[in-house]
C-alpha cells in the first residue's frame, strides 16, 4: 500500500463524501491541507474573514441539505468561525468545519496561534474530532459527515494538528463507520401517531405549528396533506416560515414575538396543537406557562431531548418529522378521514385572518417595510431563495414577505447572528446557482460581513443584497424607544458609509431605490444581471416592527400598531 499524507487522505475522504466546494482562508497551521486542496477537484472559495466562511458553509448546507465545508487555520482562524458554528448549532444546520492546529507536540505549550478550539466549541458543536495520527483521518471524516447530516443536523468540527496533516502513512478508507453511542433515526411509534390523530379529531380548535424540522426533513407535501385533510389552520415558528405556502388559504404565518397578528391570536385560542419539528423557543411561544394553559400539545420531533424541554407534552412522537407525518397521512386516508365545509372554528380562523389583514395600520412612510416587501414579493420569482440578516428587517420579512415555494426562506433564527444573511446567501447561491438568491438585509447587520462582496463578485456567486437602510441599529433603537424612555445610545450609524459606493468599490452593482417603483425595477435589474447587487433603500428610522410581543410576556399581550 502506498503511503500518503494526512492532508492528502483528508482530501480523498472529502471527495468520497461528494464534497465539491469548500469555503475558507489559509494560514500557517492548515497549509498542508491547502497544498492538497490545490491538487484536488474541490473548488475553494476564498473568504475575507473566516466567520463568513462558516456562514457560507451553513447557507450551503441548509439549501443543499448536505454538510457545507469550511476551512480555517489554528488560533484566531479557528476562533473566527466560532460564531458560525454556534449559529449552525442553534439552527440545526449541517456543517463540517475543518481547522488546522499547531503540531501535536506543541499543543498545551501556548504556542503561536494555538487555541483550544475543541474546548472552546464543546457546547456548540454536535461533535468534535481531533485525529492524532494520519490513519484516523478517513474514519473521522466519514463519521463527521454522518453525524452532521443525520438525525437533528448540526455542526461537526475536525481539528487537525499540522504534523498529522504532514505525516505519511498507509491509510485505509473505510466504506462505512459505526458509532455505537449515536442512534439518529428512531422509528416513530405508530400508536403515538394514532393517539395524536384521536386527539386532533376530538379537539374543537386545532392548530398545526410547523417548525424548522419540517424544512430540514422536507416534509412539505405531508404537512400540506394533513392540513387539507383535516382542514386545520397552519401557523409556523419563525424558523418554520415557509414550511407551508404562505398564500395557502389555511396559512396564518409565523407566531411569536413578531408573528402575524392572526397567527398569534388563533394560537392563543386553540385547544390543541400539532407541533412538527419545533422546539417551542421563547421567541415563538412567549412565556412557557401561559402558552400551554388550556392547550393539548402533540409534539413530533427527531430529538427526544426536545420533548418536554420547554412545554409539557400530551402526546410525543419521536422520529423524523417527514416519516411521522407520512404515516399520519396514510392512517387518515385508510380511515377515510376527510373534513369538508365550514366549522365554527374555521369560520373564526378566517374572520380573524381577514380582520387583521384588513385592519392593521400600515406605517405612513412611502417606503414602509410592508410596502417594500410586498413589492419585492411581486417581482421576485417564487422559487428564489431568500436569506435575512438579523434585526428589524428580519422581523419585517417574517411579517410581510410571503414565502410561496416551501423551503426557500432561511434566517439565523436561533442565535440571531448579525452578519449571517449575506455570506449565507453566497453559500446558498453555490448550492443552487440557477435561482436568484436575495439577502433581505439591514445596514447594521450587513456591515458585519460586507467584505464578502469581494467573494460574491470574484467567485461569480452573484447575490442581491436588499438593504433596508435607516442608518440605525433599528431593533435596538426600537427597544430603547419602547423600554428605555427614548434614551438613544449606540444606535446611530450617522449616514456612513455610502452603500452604492461600497458595492462599486468591490466591483459589484450598487443601486439606490427611493420609491417603490425603483425598488421593483432595481430587483428586476439585479435578477437579470450576473453580478452581485446592493439595492440601497432609504427607509424611515422611526418605523417600529409591529405587532410585537414584548419579552417575558405571552402571545395574548401582543402590541398592535396604533
Amino acid at each position: 500500500m502506498e503511503k500518503i499524507s494526512g492532508a492528502r487522505s483528508l482530501m480523498i475522504a472529502l471527495e468520497k463524501e461528494g464534497v465539491d466546494i469548500a469555503f475558507g482562508l489559509p494560514g500557517g497551521a492548515n497549509l498542508p491541507i491547502y497544498d492538497e486542496l490545490y491538487k484536488s477537484n474541490i473548488r475553494h472559495v476564498l473568504v475575507r474573514h473566516e466567520q463568513s466562511a462558516s456562514h457560507m458553509a451553513d447557507g450551503y448546507g441548509r439549501v443543499s441539505r448536505r454538510p457545507g465545508v469550511c476551512f480555517a487555520t489554528s488560533g484566531p482562524g479557528a476562533t473566527n468561525i466560532v460564531t458560525g458554528i454556534a449559529t449552525a448549532q442553534a439552527d440545526s444546520a449541517p456543517m463540517v468545519a475543518i481547522t488546522g492546529q499547531v503540531p501535536s507536540k506543541m499543543i498545551g505549550r501556548d504556542a503561536f496561534q494555538e487555541s483550544d478550539i475543541i474546548g472552546i466549541t464543546n457546547p456548540i458543536v454536535k461533535y468534535a474530532f481531533q485525529p492524532m495520527t494520519p490513519n484516523e483521518i478517513p474514519e473521522v471524516v466519514k463519521k463527521a459527515f454522518y453525524i452532521a447530516a443525520t438525525g437533528r443536523p448540526g455542526p461537526v468540527l475536525i481539528d487537525i494538528p499540522k504534523d498529522v496533516q504532514q505525516n505519511e502513512a498507509e491509510i485505509h478508507f473505510p466504506s462505512e463507520v459505526k458509532i455505537r453511542g449515536y442512534h439518529p433515526w428512531v422509528d416513530p411509534d405508530v400508536r403515538q401517531i394514532e393517539r395524536a390523530i384521536d386527539m386532533l379529531l376530538s379537539s374543537e380548535r386545532p392548530v398545526i405549528l410547523a417548525g424548522g424540522g419540517v424544512i430540514i426533513s422536507s416534509a412539505f407535501a405531508e404537512l400540506q396533506s394533513i392540513a387539507e385533510l383535516l382542514m386545520i389552520p397552519v401557523v409556523t415558528t419563525f424558523k418554520g416560515k415557509g414550511a407551508f405556502p404562505e398564500n395557502h388559504p389555511l396559512s396564518l404565518g409565523p407566531i411569536g414575538m413578531h408573528g402575524h397578528a392572526e397567527a398569534n391570536k388563533i394560537m392563543t385560542e386553540a385547544d390543541c396543537v400539532l407541533a412538527c419539528g419545533s422546539r417551542f423557543s421563547d421567541r415563538s411561544v412567549g412565556t412557557f406557562e401561559e402558552f400551554e394553559k388550556n392547550l393539548k400539545i402533540i409534539h413530533m420531533d427527531v430529538d427526544p431531548a426536545e420533548i418536554g424541554k420547554n412545554q409539557t407534552t400530551n402526546v410525543a412522537v419521536v422520529g423524523d418529522v417527514k416519516t411521522s407525518l407520512r404515516i399520519m397521512v396514510k392512517m387518515l386516508i385508510q380511515k377515510a378521514i376527510k373534513k369538508n365545509g365550514e366549522s365554527a372554528w374555521s369560520k373564526r380562523v378566517n374572520e380573524t385572518k381577514q380582520y387583521y389583514r384588513e385592519n392593521l395600520k400600515v406605517h405612513p412612510h412611502p417606503l414602509a417595510a410592508s410596502k417594500v416587501l410586498k413589492k419585492l414579493r411581486e417581482v421576485l420569482p417564487a422559487q428564489s431563495i431568500v436569506t435575512t440578516e438579523v434585526g428589524q428587517h428580519q422581523m419585517w420579512a417574517s411579517l410581510f414577505y410571503d414565502v410561496i415555494h416551501p423551503g426557500t426562506f432561511f434566517s439565523s433564527t436561533g442565535l440571531g447572528t448579525m452578519g449571517w444573511g449575506f455570506p449565507a446567501a453566497i453559500g446558498a447561491k453555490a448550492a443552487k446557482p440557477d435561482v436568484p438568491v436575495l439577502d433581505i438585509a439591514g445596514e447594521g447587520s450587513f456591515n458585519m460581513t460586507e467584505n464578502s462582496l469581494a467573494v460574491s463578485v470574484l467567485e461569480n456567486l452573484p447575490v442581491i443584497v436588499f438593504l433596508f437602510n435607516n442608518f440605525t441599529l433599528g431593533m435596538v433603537a426600537q427597544w430603547q424607544r419602547t423600554f428605555y424612555d427614548r434614551r438613544m445610545i449606540g444606535v446611530d450609524l450617522k449616514n456612513c458609509p455610502d452603500y452604492v459606493k461600497i458595492a462599486e468599490a468591490y466591483g459589484a452593482q450598487g443601486i439606490r431605490a427611493q420609491t417603490l417603483d425603483e425598488v421593483g425595477k432595481a430587483v428586476q435589474t439585479a435578477i437579470k444581471s450576473d453580478i452581485a447587487t446592493v439595492i440601497d433603500i432609504p427607509i424611515d428610522p422611526q418605523e417600529d416592527v409591529l405587532p410585537f410581543v414584548a419579552p417575558g410576556t405571552s402571545l395574548k399581550d401582543m402590541i398592535l400598531p396604533s
Binding site: 475543541i118 474546548g119 464543546n122 457546547p123 454536535k126 461533535y127 453525524i147 458509532i179 455505537r180 453511542g181 449515536y182 430529538d303 427526544p304 431531548a305 420533548i307 418536554g308 424541554k309
Partner: protein, 163 residues
C-alpha cells in the same frame, strides 16, 4: 430530589469534560461524580448524583443520552440499587483517651482506622451517604482536620430479569 444517574461512556479523553460541561452549560447541578473504567477497557462508568426536580431530571437524562459519547444512561432507584461512597476523615487527637473512643466508634461503624498518631488519626468508611453523615456528626467534636470523599459509586441490583 436527590438522584443517582449511572452513565456508561466511551473511555477516551475529553468525555468527562463533555459531561461536566453539559451540566454547567445547562445550569444543572452535580452533587458528586465518580468515574472509572469497567470490565470493558473501552467503556467507563460515571456515577453522577444530582439535585433536580422531576422535569429537570428528565432533561438531564435526555441531554446525557443525546451526547454521542454516552452509551447508556440509567436512573438508579435507591431501593433497587447498591450505592456506596468511600470517605476518609483525618481527626484531631487531643488527649490519649480520644484514640480509644474514636476506635470504638470506628468499630461500631465498621470503618477502618489508619495512621494512628499522637495528634491525628485517619478513618476510612465505605457506606451510604446517610451513614457517613451520621459518623461525621459523631466525630465532629474531636475536630475534623481533613476530609476526602470519592462521590457515589453504584450499581443496579440484579441482572436482566432479576432486576
Amino acid at each position: 430530589m436527590w438522584s443517582i444517574i449511572s452513565v456508561l461512556v466511551e473511555n477516551k479523553p475529553g468525555v468527562l469534560f463533555k459531561i461536566t460541561n453539559l451540566f454547567r452549560s445547562r445550569n444543572y447541578n452535580i452533587d458528586s461524580i465518580s468515574v472509572g473504567v469497567t470490565e470493558n477497557p473501552e467503556v467507563s462508568r460515571m456515577t453522577i448524583t444530582t439535585e433536580a426536580d422531576e422535569k429537570q431530571l428528565n432533561q438531564i437524562l435526555k441531554q446525557l443520552d443525546k451526547l454521542i459519547d454516552t452509551l447508556e444512561v440509567k436512573l438508579l432507584e435507591e431501593k433497587k440499587s447498591v450505592y456506596r461512597e468511600l470517605v476518609m476523615m483525618k481527626l484531631k487527637v487531643s488527649k490519649p483517651t480520644d484514640i480509644k473512643e474514636i476506635t470504638d466508634l470506628a468499630n461500631a461503624f465498621k470503618c477502618d482506622v489508619h495512621d494512628v498518631r499522637k495528634n491525628s488519626i485517619i478513618l476510612e468508611i465505605t457506606a451510604t451517604p446517610d451513614r457517613i453523615n451520621a459518623l461525621e456528626d459523631l466525630v465532629k467534636g474531636y475536630g475534623i482536620l481533613e476530609m476526602a470523599r470519592t462521590g457515589i459509586c453504584a450499581l443496579a441490583r440484579g441482572y436482566g430479569n432479576e432486576s
